[in-house]
């Protein structure tokens, strides 16, 4: 495998899998997994199942919660007041995630980042996308959010404030996008089909 360029800033989160030799953290993680399996604490099947949940089950949760918030004004208020409590009421256990929901309005557009690593509401949205973990996104979206959003095809007019949230400590964030015009009377299931992961991080806005 060719490996002809250096990655001076690579840390545990910043690199692609299978690119070059495993990092110290990958080796530690693998060794820990093998030990736990050997001692019968967890099985390979449990780990596989958990990864499958991160990839398949959890991402769907985000769209369902937001579609419900679009359809039910009182629920939306409770979601904005206390994201974790509202999700629990909706039947979702967010485990360790302490969720803050932030609402897009005609005056404010929200976008989420974790500048220090890649904190992300995994129990609601699954695994973070690669770009979310990239140094490029993490460094630039705090400093020039409008330019970064334009690269995602999202142009925020100057009369709409851009509000960046650095998920740098104990809280996790989800954006509540504006419900697109022309969706009056839609079922929650149909509404959920409009809601993408990227729109819940705030780099895009849903459209009908």
């Amino acid at each position: 495998m060719s490996h002809d360029h250096d990655h001076p800033h690579d840390k545990a989160h910043g690199r692609d899998f299978d690119e070059g030799p495993p990092s110290e953290y990958e080796i530690m993680s693998r060794a820990m997994q093998e030990l736990l399996e050997a001692k019968g604490v967890i099985t390979a099947e449990q780990i596989r199942r958990r990864m499958e949940q991160f990839e398949q089950d959890f991402p769907e949760r985000g769209a369902k919660v937001i579609a419900h918030a679009w359809a039910d004004t009182e629920f939306r208020k409770r979601l904005l007041e206390d994201g974790k409590a509202a999700c629990a009421e909706f039947g979702l256990d967010l485990e360790a995630d302490r969720l803050i929901a932030v609402e897009n309005t005609p005056q404010v557009h929200n976008v989420i980042v974790c500048t220090l690593c890649s904190c992300y509401p995994r129990a609601l949205l699954g695994m973070p996308p690669t770009w979310y973990k990239s140094e490029n996104y993490r460094k630039r979206v705090v400093r020039e959010p409008r330019a970064v959003l334009r690269e995602f095809g999202t142009v925020i007019p100057d009369d709409v404030a851009v509000r960046v949230h650095d998920s740098n400590a104990d809280m996790r964030y989800v954006v509540v996008p504006m419900r697109p015009a022309g969706t009056e009377g839609w079922s929650e299931e149909k509404l959920a089909s409009l809601i993408t992961r990227d729109s819940l991080v705030g780099v895009t806005v849903p459209s009908a």
Binding site: T115, R143, A161, V164, H165, D166, N168, D170
Partner: protein, 103 residues
């Protein structure tokens, strides 16, 4: 047990709406205060609660005493003097109490 994003923080030094400054300090070790926000002034947006101190947890200590965590709102022009966007753009960052002082 009540499920909530927030925990109680009865004995806290700052209140919502108060102007605060992030300490301009550069101690070694695992810190959850990003460099770009150190020394900047903002306004407390909300109180998240008390949490085990991640700067201690990172080294295998028990993280006690717990620290109060705030979300602080900063104008982008305050954070980046050459910020190119509109005046009203802002950024919100989670800051532990021991990193904050009255502005």
């Amino acid at each position: 047990m009540k499920v909530s994003a927030y925990t109680d923080a009865p004995a806290r030094r700052f209140h919502v709406g108060e102007r605060v400054r992030v300490k301009r300090s550069f101690p070694p070790g695992h810190r959850r205060t990003p460099y770009y926000i150190r020394g900047k002034q903002g306004v407390v947006e909300r109180v998240c609660g008390t949490f085990l101190n991640p700067e201690e947890l990172a080294y295998g200590f028990d993280g006690k005493p717990e620290r109060v965590l705030y979300r602080v709102r900063f104008g982008q022009k305050e954070v980046w003097p050459d910020y190119a966007g509109p005046e009203r753009d802002w950024i919100e960052v989670e800051i532990y109490e021991h990193w904050l002082e009255k502005a």
